[in-house]
Symmetry: C2
């Protein structure tokens, strides 16, 4: 167990915060609920941004930037939307030393400001589709906050697309859901369920919300990304019509979708252990750290000289660093890089020079292997790939082992208390049952996998059910 990191088995919440502190990922800021993302945390976000941004661009999206401040009246134009977001808004009432005539809210999300602009940009079917994404900060007034998972201000990307037909909007909604799934599974090594949210859990103003949902190591669910089919709701609220190919004036169809710095919380809780952060190689800012070992200046210079030859052709192959700092001992460095989650550590000292080998240590498993110097360049990428795969498999096995089918309500309540996990249960599709479920179990319907059908009886009411839904306690 690493110094200063509480064990997961002792106090999971405390462990999570200890991992963040030990890896210097983030700090609480002076304003309650706000967060400072420190360089180590931000470097992970930059990796995430780079990969997602590439996928968005390859699928035809472009980036833009819309204003932070939204007239309060805009929020009110879509009835469900204002009901959902108004209570969470930070409001600017004064600017330039004067009281403002119209109060401005700091964007909690940007549908309203963006659709007010789309009104000017869209006249004809030739202006469609619009496939815009923005990387931005948003503010939602949260009282119970937790670093990365729920903070008053967070960073995210929000896509806002406009289409000529309902079908295209639905395709886009699912295209993005799939991008999110691929990103979560292939890059974060975090297996996710995909599906639709219940009416009660959907985005305020959407026809339907799709989500990716992951299981954390404490068996709770984390909603990690959402993709909304907004139908014509915002086009109607902002009167955005286009002339179709047939010459008719029609309201535009819309989607919006987002993932946020919450993903970093999901990443931490998917893979890290009692020694600290564990990062999947694809998102690790630093993939390999080389720790040279020496006693005295003579050994130092011969080790470093040899290291420089060994690593000469590593550049561009993977992200590595040689930690040749004088003022820290090797043991301290091992511990430090473990806490920071670097996937591979290479140890190399005078004896290794003689044997022509180095020690490669995997952060995820602790496994050590001796590898000839001239094989490191080819071996390291292979091990990185293996770690990426193993992390995914371990997380998927864990999730599967903690996913249960359940048909008895008392049993469900007891097991949620005792074991946590995902429960596949029948539900009658009614809001009242969903509310009762949450009130009585603190669990919610996480996702409805509409492609699956299996008739049965609602676990709460015994009424007919079309399919099982996934129920869990969630972050």
């Amino acid at each position: 167990m690493a110094k200063g990191i509480t064990k997961r088995s002792e106090d999971y919440s405390r462990w999570y915060l200890d991992v963040i502190a030990a890896a210097k990922l983030a700090d609480y800021a002076p304003v309650k609920g706000c967060m400072v993302i420190r360089p180590n945390g931000y470097a992970i976000w930059e990796r995430m941004q780079a990969e997602l941004d590439t996928m968005f661009k390859e699928s035809g999206h472009v980036n833009a930037y819309f204003p932070l401040l939204i007239p309060e009246s805009y929020l009110k134009k879509e009835a469900e939307h204002v009901e959902g977001f108004a209570p969470e808004c930070a409001v600017v009432t004064q600017g330039g030393g004067k009281k403002l005539e119209e109060r401005l809210v700091i964007r909690p999300t940007s549908e309203t400001i963006i659709w007010s602009m789309y009104k000017d940009w869209i006249q004809s079917h030739r202006d469609l589709p619009i496939l815009i994404n923005q990387w931005a900060n948003v503010v939602r007034w949260e009282m119970r906050t937790r670093l990365f998972l729920r903070t008053m201000e967070f960073l995210w990307q929000e896509g806002h697309t406009a289409h000529a037909t309902a079908g295209e909007a639905q395709e886009e909604t699912l295209r993005i859901l799939e991008i999110y799934r691929i990103f979560a599974e292939d890059f974060m090594a975090m297996p996710v369920l995909t599906g639709v949210k219940s009416e009660r859990e959907k985005f305020a103003g959407a026809l339907q919300t799709y989500a990716i949902e992951a299981m954390m190591q404490d068996c709770k669910a984390l909603q990690a990304g959402t993709s909304h089919n907004l139908g014509q709701n915002f086009a109607k609220a902002f009167d955005v019509k286009f002339q179709s190919e047939e010459g008719n004036l029609e309201h535009v169809w819309a989607t919006s979708w987002g993932v946020s710095t919450r993903l970093i919380g999901g990443l931490i809780m998917s893979h890290s252990d009692d020694l600290g952060l564990v990062l999947p190689p694809k998102l690790a800012p630093l993939q390999v750290v080389v720790v040279p070992i020496w006693r005295g200046d003579d050994e130092k210079s011969s080790v470093l000289e040899r290291l420089s030859a060994i690593t000469a052709d590593w550049k561009g192959k993977f992200r590595f660093r040689i930690d040749d700092r004088d003022n820290y001992r090797p043991g301290w460095k091992f511990n430090e890089w473990e806490k920071q989650g670097v996937p591979i550590r290479i140890e190399i000292g005078p004896r290794d020079l003689e044997s022509g080998e180095a020690v490669l240590v995997r952060r995820d498993s602790g496994e050590k292997e001796r590898i000839p110097h001239d094989r490191l360049l080819t071996e390291i990428p292979t091990v990185l790939q293996q770690i990426q795969k193993d992390l995914f498999k371990r997380a998927a096995d864990f999730r599967d082992a903690n996913t249960h089918t359940c048909d008895d309500y008392d049993d469900l309540k007891q097991r949620l208390d005792e074991d946590g996990g995902f429960y596949r249960v029948h539900w009658n599709g009614k809001r009242e049952s969903e509310e009762r479920l949450q009130n009585e179990t603190k669990a919610t319907i996480r996702v409805i996998q509409t492609e699956q059908s299996e008739k049965g009886s609602c676990i709460l009411t015994g009424e007919p059910s079309e399919r099982r839904v996934v129920v869990a306690r969630a972050y």
Copy 2:
């Protein structure tokens, strides 16, 4: 002259806004003074970010993210700082439906919030230097706004560094100034003067502010980036001390520095012409557009087929697009891409297939050249480089032709009114003279080139002067 773009000679301000509208770079937003950066504008910003970010990282800086909201009391901890920024602040007084106990300002700049965190992060000389940059939005309540050049909200990067000695802080200040100069000149093709600002024009809270200063095509000056040596002012305001190698407790030394989306305004006004936007190749999101010409479907398919062979190995060599849209004619496309500032247009039609040549048109000069198909791949990068050079040279020649030495105050006033431009004049170094100059001429001291010395007499008072300073009207 392009349809819808006012000539520079007719109305320069109108021309500027017309160029932005024609290239779809930005729009005014519903909140007065705020701006929407449209995809074409944002793509330029992304190119700028990528280049600057690389230079920052190569010089040892890392990125982080600090909160948007700052307790109002923090702003007040540095006396000059609050005086400078408080009048420009947007203030959040309500959150989550309740009146806040402490008012929060939206960051106009982040020194105060960052130094409140540095207090926790810095104890020893081993924690120094801290070399952090952040890409973020800031809000300053501006009444007279202009797209990109002065908006209420803008995007920028702000570097905030902490050092053990005054000397290191000064080195950092100048290192960044040099990065800004290189970026402006080598990437934006915008020649700049570098130097120090007068006491009156310096950043609120700095010991000294250094700036890069460019001349726009209307002969006005644009401050395009600033690098501040903050001395120990913020360390003292936030009580940030470190234990030195000798064991003494000392206040930390600081710098801060930033460039913003204002650079896009500078880019537009440096190179664009009466046909619209002109972009230097290094920052052009699209460097080459290929416009195929055909009549009828047979010609179309043979032209496109051939084009696909010609461009097969272009990928990764430069950023290009084949505009094969059916629903627009070639002439319309030429015009469209001209307005968007794409540096090179390649025209290719059935006759060019026969001759084995294509027409290459330079956006900056309008020059046309016939080039054999098999030479395009090598010729295009050469022409892109040439355009980059020529744009810089043209801007530098223009600036030099409009930079004058002047020793007579009446003459200065008249020439500022009639010709504009930069004037190298003697000044006694006193704030009263500087204020009088501004009140009487609307010009300000743009930059003091401290490495130059030339004794003389102040143009206003006749008092002794150590060196000439550069005076101009400015954005």
